[in-house]
């Protein structure tokens, strides 16, 4: 299948390993990524808090770009997924729609509302299918216990996100199982990572991240995996700060969703950008036999 690939800002910058892994996995599974260098940022929830109408208009433009190409838009970030879906929803309000349509006309664009916004997770499950993925696994992640960490905006608000089970999702766990790993269920998997206030009050954000990592660890997770690069920033790039804030040591490897898929499909650590992580993923790679047990 072919999709309009919406990498989002972070995967093109500090989270480039997510983009790398996405391209590798999609290449293997026949998901064709059409690129649109004219896509803008989704606003990440921050522009929404400064100017709601502007944020809807920016995303209406993004959706119109995919629509013009006749493609569904594929995100690789829970927050992008949330903001673009929310824009589709808010454009159902005639007052918002009028204002946004008027602005789009002035830049020669039209929003019709036919483009679906789909996260990579959804494309993997519904288009590729778990059976196909299972049949493509070359390196089963047997013995690896993985705690999925969904990221708020993939799930909530449930009505707008059309989540089948916002409070008790299972899609990510289903995928983890298909890769041969063992999913770990814990309360934190649907909680917040703290990222939205990382710049506002870092110690509080660090404490929130620590709560979720501790919870995953207490339930026996060897690693966590997330479909959101913002969660990844909070859980991986700031994990040392979270540890310092609560005076504990976690050493928890955190994978981006397509990195975990890539590992099972036979990718190398370098293909997936794993050396770019702040917390070493070696303990997890040792468990799946990708690197030798240190002597």
């Amino acid at each position: 299948m072919k999709v309009a690939y919406y990498p989002g800002c972070v995967a093109q910058e500090s989270g480039r390993e997510l983009d790398l892994a996405t391209r590798w996995v999609c290449g293997q599974l026949g998901i064709e990524l059409q690129e649109f260098p004219n896509f803008s940022c989704c606003g990440s929830g921050f522009i929404d808090e400064a100017n709601e109408t502007l944020n809807v208009a920016l995303n209406a433009r993004n959706l119109a770009i995919a629509e013009r190409a006749g493609l569904d838009l594929m995100t690789i970030c829970s927050t992008c997924q949330g903001m673009l879906t929310l824009a589709n929803h808010r454009l159902g309000d005639p007052k918002v729609r009028d204002r946004v349509d008027g602005a789009l006309r002035q830049i020669g664009m039209e929003y019709r509302g036919t483009t679906k916004v789909r996260h990579l997770l959804d494309v993997l499950l519904k288009e590729v299918g778990l059976e196909t993925i299972r049949s493509r696994v070359r390196r089963p992640l047997t013995g690896l216990r993985v705690g999925a960490f969904y990221g708020c905006h993939l799930l909530r608000p449930a009505d707008e996100m059309h989540s089948e089970s916002a409070e008790e999702p299972h899609e990510f766990e289903d995928l983890i199982e298909a890769l041969g790993a063992t999913p770990v269920l814990y309360r934190g998997r649907v909680m917040c990572c703290g990222f939205p206030i990382l710049f506002v009050r870092e110690p509080t954000a660090n404490r929130i991240a620590a709560t979720q990592i501790r919870d995953a660890k207490a339930h026996g997770a060897h690693a966590m995996a997330t479909p959101c690069p913002l969660c990844h920033t909070s859980l991986d790039a700031y994990q040392n700060k979270a540890e310092a804030e609560v005076g504990e040591k976690f050493g928890m490897p955190v994978f981006h969703l397509p990195q975990l898929v890539g590992l099972a499909l036979g990718a190398t650590s370098k293909d997936l950008g794993l050396p770019r992580h702040l917390v070493s993923t070696d303990t997890a790679l040792t468990r799946i036999g990708l690197i030798a047990v240190p002597t």
């Binding site: 910058e13 509080t204 992580h277």
Partner: protein, 326 residues
């Protein structure tokens, strides 16, 4: 025809601080119709099996807001949650007291923290000199004015949102979802005389600690949608004055950041949001991240057709910061 009965295994949290050495769970299995409310089942346990079980309740009709607790770890009103779907999904029903509030005994929590954070926001109308309210006289509002309250008057102060909120858990300064939804209600009330003062004050009293995780909106049994009203408050607060709080600075800086390139300039955003001291303190972590991810300090290339994005800003964001300020 009598309804079909199901087996409902209950695990109920029991603890009295200072008396019991540690919390424990009591196990009961009841046979009841699937539509039985959890509260009815708990009262049956108390009346027939264990009279020492302590819980708070009153109306049994989702009006009084007394029986909020965790049902299979989700904040719920026990009277509004049926046992059938819980057993179907979890195979059992685990009952705990609400989170973020200290336990007095079993399922009864001490509510002072919840109310204290609420009272800090001065939740009462302040006289509006432009709109005197003589005693005994009606003070009519237009339907449009009433619409602006949205769903907030439905709130029954059950604290389910407070129990579900990770910001409440992590930071004592955060007022909580219910308190902020109520604050919104006063800010848009045409009879209130101090909406702008309220918006200025809340900026330094925790508004920007909301994580917009929407867990409150999922927990709310009355569909008040607190997270959406907090979003509205943030937008109004941003419009009410030049940003000076870090949270406000961050969202406005983010907006301006995207105006200039269409894509986020991560390093610039940090410089725009953090004050000089914070920026200095963030340097060691910044260097650690940069060692692995050198893009962090690189300026990204602008998106193609950036002028389209800038035109949208011009059309929708040029009318000045006072637009729609209350």
């Amino acid at each position: 025809m009598p309804p079909e009965l199901i087996q409902a295994p209950f695990e109920v949290y029991r603890y009295e601080p200072g008396v019991d050495p540690a919390p424990r769970y009591s196990h009961f299995t009841l046979e009841l119709p699937p539509h039985t409310p959890v509260l009815t089942a708990l009262l049956k346990i108390r009346d027939e099996l264990d009279p020492s079980l302590t819980l708070r309740y009153s109306c049994r009709s989702a009006i009084c807001g007394s029986c909020a607790m965790l049902v299979n770890s989700k904040s719920r009103l026990a009277c509004k949650t049926q046992i059938g779907p819980e057993v179907a999904r979890h195979g059992k029903i685990v009952i705990d007291p609400m989170r973020n509030l200290p336990v007095l005994r079993d399922l009864v929590t001490e509510m002072n923290g919840f109310w204290d954070r609420y009272r800090r926001l001065e939740p009462a109308l302040r006289p509006n000199p432009d709109r005197p309210m003589p005693v005994g006289q009606p003070n009519p509002m237009t339907p449009e004015q009433v619409d602006r309250f949205m769903e907030t008057p439905r709130c029954i102060a059950c604290a389910a949102c407070y129990s579900a909120c990770p910001a409440v858990e992590a930071d004592p300064e955060f007022p909580g979802p219910m308190a902020l939804a109520k604050l919104y209600r006063f800010v848009v009330d045409p009879r209130d005389g101090a909406p702008r003062e309220r918006l200025l004050k809340i900026q330094s009293e925790g508004l920007w600690l909301c994580l917009r995780c929407h867990l409150c909106t999922e927990a709310c049994p009355k569909d008040v949608r607190p997270s959406e009203r907090i979003r509205d408050l943030k937008e109004m607060a941003n419009r009410a004055r030049d940003p000076s709080e870090a949270g406000s600075r961050h969202s406005v800086a983010f907006k301006e950041n995207i105006r200039s390139k269409g894509i986020l300039d991560e390093f610039k955003l940090a410089r725009q949001t953090l004050n000089p001291v914070q920026l200095l303190e963030s340097l060691p972590q910044g260097f650690k991240i940069r060692a692995k991810k050198p893009e962090v300090t690189k300026t990204p290339k602008p998106i193609r057709n950036l002028e389209e994005v800038q035109k949208l800003y011009e059309l929708l964001d040029s009318s000045g910061s006072e637009e729609e300020a209350p």
